[in-house]
């Protein structure tokens, strides 16, 4: 996740990455990681094993994904996803698929 302003609120940053900051910790689906005294973006990211990489030439940083499970997925709960439609206008939200089964296929022209 790109951070162009590293003073942004931690709750906002981690919500965008799929983690909700609760009293018991940072939670995603059934998984909660205790945060202890961590309150800043950098400290919470460290708890979640999310590396922060900065650009030398631009005022930009990127927060990598969490590594707490050692796998790409932390739980089976599908994360929020919203992407622009190619055919038709507007956006598609994965949440709108509730009640239908979905096979999400990644492809590329290259």
């Amino acid at each position: 996740m790109l951070l162009s302003d590293q003073t942004v609120e931690p709750g906002e940053v981690f919500a965008a990455a799929g983690w909700e900051i609760k009293p018991e910790g940072a939670c995603r689906g059934p998984v909660c990681v205790p945060l202890g005294e961590a309150t800043t973006v950098q400290a919470i990211a460290q708890r979640l094993g999310m590396p922060l990489v900065t650009s030398d030439s631009h005022d930009l940083a990127a927060l990598g994904p969490a590594t707490v499970s050692g796998r790409a997925l932390t739980s089976a709960v599908a994360p929020d996803l919203e992407l622009p439609l190619v055919v038709g206008d507007g956006v598609w939200r994965l949440a709108d698929q509730r009640g239908r089964r979905t096979v999400m296929v990644a492809w590329a022209p290259w």
Partner: protein, 247 residues
């Protein structure tokens, strides 16, 4: 092909959603979409490779199954919509450049079961949550690709590389893409996307070239390219192994 599968499975409650991964948007995908008479499935574009990070997509084509309650029931795995053989088995034009012939031969040696996905998804269509191909939460997490500090740091570098590319800082983007490739050499989306952006080949084959222009190897900004990398890792390691159902 995906459109055909969607039309077959949609009456049984399964929607195919295709996500085009391309930093430069949908332009490159237009020939593929134009080849479909009428697109009835949901087709979206992901210009920042967000699904790579969220779902563990490391190559294409790969698919994730998500049930009616929005739980993942199969992690990202190789997916093929039909029963056709791979690209390497196709009849090649006589005038194809040598590199493309070599690439087609290497692609033909990729050892994946192209029938597995179709068999599995039709079983899911018929049996729903009782399908043997539906996995438990623990199996889904364990079956997703490995992500340690190196892979997560690679993801951050790849995201910075994309951002810099989109801001026009091509040299800066290449530095981050190279670092993503070094840290996560098994992520082929990071490689294939960056190689495509660096392609200097003209014409309809450009998007498949994935390497230096012959005679201009010194100008290629990456350590690897598709042909040399797949030769190095072996075609059987091109896609992660799917989680097989119990016997």
């Amino acid at each position: 092909m995906w459109e055909d599968l969607h039309r077959e499975l949609s009456p049984q409650g399964i929607d195919i959603v295709t996500v085009c991964l391309d930093v430069e948007g949908i332009e490159g995908a237009e020939p593929d979409l134009a080849a479909v008479d009428e697109v009835t499935h949901i087709a979206v574009v992901d210009q920042t490779h967000v699904i790579d990070e969220l779902f563990g997509i490391v190559n294409v084509p790969m698919a994730v199954w998500i049930d009616e309650d929005l739980n993942i029931v199969r992690p990202a795995e190789f997916a093929w919509p039909g029963d056709r053989e791979g690209a390497g088995a196709a009849q090649l034009p006589d005038d194809l450049p040598e590199r493309m012939v070599d690439m087609a031969q290497a692609a033909g040696q990729i050892q994946v079961d192209r029938l597995f996905f179709g068999t599995a998804v039709r079983d899911w269509a018929q049996h729903g949550a009782r399908s043997n191909y539906v996995l438990s939460e623990d199996q889904v997490v364990a079956g997703s690709v490995r992500r340690g500090q190196d892979e997560a740091t690679a993801a951050a570098h790849f995201e910075l590389g994309q951002a810099l590319h989109q801001r026009g800082d091509i040299d800066g983007s290449i530095g981050h893409f190279r670092e993503a490739h070094r840290l996560d050499p098994n992520n082929w989306t990071y490689k294939r996307q960056a190689w495509e952006l660096a392609s200097r080949v003209e014409g309809p084959l450009a998007r498949f070239w994935q390497g230096p222009v012959p005679g201009q190897e010194d100008e290629w900004p990456y350590e690897g390219d598709w042909l040399s990398d797949i030769t190095a890792v072996g075609p059987k390691n091109y896609y992660p192994e799917p989680v097989m159902p119990p016997e």
